[in-house]
């Protein structure tokens, strides 16, 4: 059952990342990969809330492992950071690496705290 739920979550999460990336990247002129940055932060927020809400194993497989796992990406983040460095944009590469880690973990903690507060 969990396998099916992971697959279901991923079937939504991966296209959602693609569409968000397209929507974000077409709306600004910066070389900074705001699209990947946005999906990673959003997935961290949702995963934090899922973990903080202490949901069932099944719901965690669907939302945490499937949806958030497929919504977020490390491979594209790595590649885009490398491309920034290769094209001489070292400050942007460093900002992407440090910013993604700080904002991602911050969003995760925020999500967990919010879910914990709602649970009481």
């Amino acid at each position: 059952m969990s396998w099916l739920l992971v697959a279901l979550g991923a079937a939504v999460g991966a296209p959602l990342r693609y569409l968000t990336d397209r929507a974000v990247q077409s709306r600004h002129e910066s070389a900074f990969p705001w699209g990947t940055f946005t999906v990673n932060a959003a997935a961290c927020l949702v995963l934090g809330a899922t973990a903080g809400a202490a949901v069932s194993t099944e719901l965690y497989a669907l939302l945490g492992t499937g949806l958030c796992g497929a919504l977020s990406t490390y491979s594209t983040f790595s590649y885009e950071t490398l491309r920034l460095a290769e094209t001489g944009r070292w400050p942007l590469a460093a900002a992407n690496a440090a910013g993604s880690v700080l904002v991602g973990t911050g969003a995760l903690v925020l999500g967990a705290e919010l879910a914990g507060a709602v649970r009481g």
Partner: protein, 170 residues
């Protein structure tokens, strides 16, 4: 495969979320019914990648007191593989023209679904919450260094394999 060399006859570059979306012509590549096909490829790839990650996590559940090495390994491997994939897809070395759905399926879908940033952040938070600050820092920095090193090495090796020149291309 497509016999036309990349760029010949106005052949569009492969469908790619990293295409320059500031250019309306490139944005139009995935308009209409084409977008549905791309989304289906991304979803199918994402399911395969996520199930592979889930299988790895279940195969090596790991000691909860140790750093989450399975997620680290997944992210480093996925970063290496996207480097191998993107050199021919984005740089078009040689006469091989990749299928337009290769990048959405394999890169955005499979590797995007396989690797995860959210579980990485959760692992780091869990290590911190257990008072293992040094392990949390080591995990965060180690994953970052490992993944960036892996994608750099993969891109350099693939360019060398395709052109015979180290670091060739852009």
């Amino acid at each position: 495969m497509n016999p036309a060399p990349p760029g010949a006859g106005g052949e569009p570059v492969p469908v790619d979320p990293d295409v320059d979306l500031h250019v309306p012509a490139q944005r139009a590549e995935t308009a209409g019914a084409r977008l549905l096909l791309v989304l289906a490829a991304v979803a199918a790839g994402g399911v395969i990648g996520a199930l592979a990650r889930y299988a790895a996590v279940r195969a090596w559940p790991g000691d909860p007191a140790s750093a989450p090495l399975v997620t680290l390994g997944i992210n480093v491997l996925g970063s290496f593989l996207i480097g191998v994939l993107m050199v021919p897809v984005a740089e078009g070395h040689g006469r091989w023209s990749p299928h337009p759905l290769l990048r959405p399926f394999a890169g955005t879908g499979v590797l995007g679904g396989f690797t995860t940033f959210s579980a990485y952040a959760l692992d780091a938070r869990d290590l911190l919450a257990r008072g293992e600050g040094a392990a949390a820092f080591g995990y965060v920095a180690g994953t970052l260094a490992g993944c960036l090193g892996a994608v750099w090495a993969a891109v350099a090796l693939t360019r060398w394999a395709l052109t015979g020149r180290p670091g060739a291309g852009r």
